[in-house]
Symmetry: C2
Subunit: 323 residues, 2 copies
């Protein structure tokens, strides 16, 4: 059982520690990268030996965070995971080596499973970068332009560039502090929200071409097949952020993305607007998730996967079926 601790207590643990290993989650996003690097830079400014470890390579778009920050190897005395709700999210190699001996976990997921000796979690924060920013203040370290860039990246990426419900007043005020401290927010926003690869553009075109509407446009189904992925030349990175597309169409209650996996089966993502429960649909096919975003996996051809998820949708949301 983990001990739930305050930010002051977490800061005191970090103050007392040295030879610190920070752990990011696999498939690294802006929040886990930004938060780990921000904490690393702050702790190094105090003269501590610190490094960041991630189970996957950090995507190139975060070069502005990682460039010039050396990560020399050393035997850690203190292990701190940041933005990692469950040790399996470290990826198999990092989990095997460090998963059972994490001293401190800093997080913003209410679903944190409590695997670390001590856990400091604030689920009201849009990004764990907001928790980290407060910890850095408690450590007595100022926001440098580099740290501010890291914190801003976490807040902006986890809030869809301030578009989602979690972009509350606190998130905006903390972003303002980062901008004032010298975060190059214009470049960060361009890199994270503006630039798409040619492969991604082509994949979007193919996916839109394959989009189908059902039940008077209330259900939109978008396929992403291995053939489309191969034809477009899209990488895993290019596939990020495709699942919201069907739900963003006017009049759509249920947006469904069918993503073919390497084994040929389909990973299905369901996104819903107000008043429709995505989990109710996906649990019928053995999946789960949140009210507005859920998922499941279906075996079979595209036609079979489509039929299965449409049947589940009709069963879970009978009022979607109108004459």
């Amino acid at each position: 059982m983990t001990q739930l601790i305050t930010e002051r207590e977490a800061a005191d643990q970090l103050l007392a520690a040295d030879n610190i290993l920070l752990l990011a989650h696999q498939y690294p996003d802006g929040d886990t990268v930004g938060s780990n690097y921000a904490l690393c830079l702050a702790l190094r400014a105090m003269g501590k030996q610190v490094r960041v470890l991630c189970g996957d390579p950090i995507p190139e778009r975060f070069d502005y965070i990682t460039e010039g920050v050396e990560m020399p190897d050393f035997e850690p005395d203190f292990i701190c995971a940041v933005d990692v709700a469950d040790p399996t999210l470290l990826g198999p190699a990092v989990e095997a080596q460090y998963g059972s001996r994490v001293d401190l976990c800093i997080d913003h997921h209410s679903t944190n499973v409590g695997y670390a000796a001590a856990t400091c979690v604030d689920a009201t924060c849009a990004a764990v970068a907001m928790v980290v920013r407060r910890l850095i203040a408690l450590l007595g370290i100022d926001l440098t332009p580099a740290i501010a860039a890291c914190i801003y990246t976490g807040i902006a990426t986890d809030s869809g560039c301030f578009k989602y419900l979690n972009a509350d007043a606190t998130a905006h005020r903390m972003a303002a502090d980062c901008i004032e401290a010298g975060a190059p927010y214009d470049m960060i926003n361009r890199v994270n929200f503006d630039i798409k690869s040619r492969a991604r553009i082509e994949l979007e075109r193919l996916a839109l071409e394959g989009m189908e509407f059902h039940h008077h446009g209330r259900v939109a189904v978008m396929p992403i097949t291995n053939e489309m992925i191969a034809h477009s030349g899209a990488t895993e990175n290019d596939l990020e952020g495709m699942t919201p597309i069907p739900r963003q169409i006017e009049g759509v209650w249920v947006g469904i993305t069918l993503r073919q996996k390497a084994d040929g089966n389909y990973k299905i993502s369901v996104r819903t607007g107000t008043h429709v429960d995505a989990t109710a649909i996906c649990t019928l096919l053995g999946g789960g998730g949140h009210v507005r975003a859920a998922g499941c996996t279906v075996e079979g051809t595209l036609a079979e996967a489509k039929a299965a998820i449409l049947a589940a949708t009709e069963q879970a949301i009978p009022r979607i079926v109108t004459s």
Copy 2:
């Protein structure tokens, strides 16, 4: 010649006035609608008779601002234009009736031509809604949820949901104040940044299908023909925000959109990244604009328009031509 006045002086003019007509610009966007309605609500809270006039119908997506706000007709004693840099932007009918007798113009465009008796302009503001918010404070009126929704709309829409360079610390802090005052920012962001019509999705697909790359992918050309518009069923509203698409592609220096007009000729929009001057390209074809966004009109077929803008690009930016 207009008199440039401070926000305090502008607030004093509004305090002294009654029977106030507020003017929005034609092709109304979130900033002109939000700012005019915010000022209208604040002045009405002081017991004044006020109405907002716009040369075009206000788009349905702003129903959350306009619904329930009656606009009874009356003979104005004081005319105030908000977010209108030039009287021609009022549209021909409103300009003819009121363009030469505007008492006060509240603006954030450095290019304001100074047509009003008095002008209160702050070009450092991302949105004129930020100027209006400060004026409302000077009038002694609190941010109600309805006023906060208007101000938030102006800031968010004029900053691309906090993505552009103008989304500075001040913009974020004022957005935070609006959220705290009860602006339904989640709904506002969904309406303005998330939902696309089916026609728009189809038009994007067709436009992406027609996209061409030149000069090793440094130049992207996207056509939007009348045939595509007709086939997709897109309205004028659906065409908004298409022009950034080609420039958002990785590696593209110059993003060109060729939009066919009703008369068959092409309105060309050029968007550029850092280090390429869009105006230098468009002035060669009789157009103009800003460094990163410029435009011109070309007569002829799609092939002719494409050839003309590509030749102008090569002439203006010779280093774009590589073997």
